[in-house]
């Protein structure tokens, strides 16, 4: 089964690309540039939004545990996927969302469970694309310490 991920080159979907990078050893997925972002599974089945694309990739590579290891973790992953779409992507004021993330990460290395999941990929990708977060990082203001630690930890990993 060969999957084909077509990405919009003017607005690349970072979350989907990260997920594709993580599963490429397990699943045969090719990445191509194009006009619109979509994951071509078969002639009948295609996914257009980032959350569906990452969910599908996580499901076809269950051994990687990107969707959590039990139903509680799975629900937390769902929560952060929705959070990244609703509270971070394309929002002008993200400070309240950053505060929430900072609190959630206070006692955690990864957002969900003890290993990397879609939650980390999608929230990281949403932050990467946020001008406000870039400004806060550049200012070195010392706020959102836990979030900063988590963000730079992930940024230093090979696939990111």
């Amino acid at each position: 089964m060969a999957l084909n991920l077509i990405v919009n080159s003017s607005n690349p979907p970072l979350g989907a690309l990260l997920a594709a990078e993580h599963v490429k050893g397990t699943v045969n997925v090719s990445v191509q540039e194009g006009k619109d972002t979509k994951l071509h599974v078969s002639d009948q089945v295609q996914f257009n939004d980032v959350n569906s694309i990452t969910r599908y990739l996580a499901r076809v590579a269950p051994s990687l545990g990107l969707y959590g290891s039990n139903m509680l973790e799975q629900t937390e992953v769902d929560h952060w996927l929705e959070f990244s779409v609703r509270r971070l992507c394309g929002q002008s004021k993200v400070a309240p969302a950053l505060g929430e993330l900072d609190r959630a990460l206070a006692l955690r290395t990864f957002l969900v469970g003890h290993s990397l999941t879609l939650a980390d990929l999608c929230v990281w990708a949403a932050l990467k694309g946020s001008g406000e977060w870039q400004a806060i990082q550049a200012s070195k203001s010392g706020s959102f310490r836990h979030l900063y630690r988590w963000f730079s930890f992930l940024s230093s990993q090979a696939p990111f």
């Binding site: 599974v41 078969s42 089945v45 996914f47 939004d49 959350n51 569906s52 969910r55 599908y56 499901r59 076809v60 039990n70 139903m71 509680l72 799975q74 629900t75 937390e76 769902d78 929560h79 996927l81 929705e82 959070f83 779409v85 609703r86 959630a104």
Partner: protein, 281 residues
């Protein structure tokens, strides 16, 4: 020794009988005291009148499976309580439908509360989980708690197992969680992801979107329902429950295209949506 002398009972025997009666009476008193204590121990509301409680009738009423341990991990003895905060101006209809389904599978202790951030709540929202359970004092008889709190929150929130899990925000994520208690997701990764796609569409574009977006969703639903009776696969899935709830909630049922109308009729015929009909606009 003869038992009777001149038609009279031997005084020694009489004394013995009286003593036995006294012992029996004290035994009954002790038993009543122990029963009373047992009731206060199993009753969280200690001020409840113990004489009004019926004994031993609860266990036979319920039928259900106890496979929650395998889904949610070890049972720690306390009731697993699902606490949902929802805004009364936008009742999360899909969650109420799922509550009805949970009640068919598990013994659920449901309750509705009003948070102080909300001033008045219409009566139909207070009774939306059915009548208050007669056995609500005996929490250990139930497998799941379902506590709905009407509160001034921007989005639906769920708190469950708060030591292990972060609070979950959004109707879509909560609906996915509740449905996982009812059925496993489709084995096929594509089908499972299609279900998730429809849920996102219903919650982001139908429930919160503009009139134009709603019309687009109705067209997409209509063409998908032209290919089969249900949105994904051969049977009802969470996609149908969440999409139908949002179509009904936005009041676009009467103006919906034909396939959508037929599908709504099917959903209604299954009886899953009867609990939300008093809440519809």
């Amino acid at each position: 020794m003869p038992m009777y002398q001149n038609g009279e009972v031997d005084p020694a025997l009489q004394a013995l009988e009286a003593r036995q009666d006294e012992i029996l009476r004290r035994l009954y008193e002790l038993k009543a005291a122990v029963d009373g204590l047992a009731k206060t121990v199993t009753t969280p509301d200690a001020d409840l009148d113990a004489t009004t409680l019926s004994q031993g009738s609860t266990a036979s009423v319920f039928t259900g499976t106890t496979d929650l341990d395998s889904l949610l991990g070890k049972d720690l003895g306390a009731l697993r309580d699902i606490v949902i905060n929802a805004n009364p101006t936008r009742p999360p209809l899909s969650l109420l439908v799922l509550h009805g389904l949970l009640c068919q599978k598990y013994r659920v202790l449901s309750s509705v509360h009003v948070h102080s951030s909300v001033s008045s709540v219409p009566p139909q929202l207070l009774s939306c989980l059915g009548p208050r359970h007669a056995d609500s004092y005996a929490r250990h008889h139930f497998q799941l708690g379902f506590t709905l709190i009407w509160k001034d929150v921007p989005h639906v929130q769920m708190k469950f197992s708060t030591q292990k899990m972060c609070p979950i925000e959004g109707e879509a994520s909560v609906a996915r969680f509740l449905f996982r208690l009812l059925a496993a997701e489709p084995r096929d990764a594509a089908a499972a992801t299609q279900v998730d796609g429809w849920i996102d569409t219903a919650v982001f574009q139908m429930a919160e979107g503009s009139a134009k977006e709603r019309a687009a969703v109705l067209r997409a639903l209509n063409s998908a329902l032209g290919r089969g009776s249900w949105l994904v696969g051969q049977e009802l899935s969470l996609a149908d429950i969440v999409c139908a709830s949002s179509v009904l909630q936005t009041g676009s049922a009467s103006s919906a295209p034909p396939n959508v109308q037929r599908w709504l009729k099917c959903c209604e015929n299954l009886g899953y949506f009867s609990c939300i009909s008093p809440l519809l606009p």
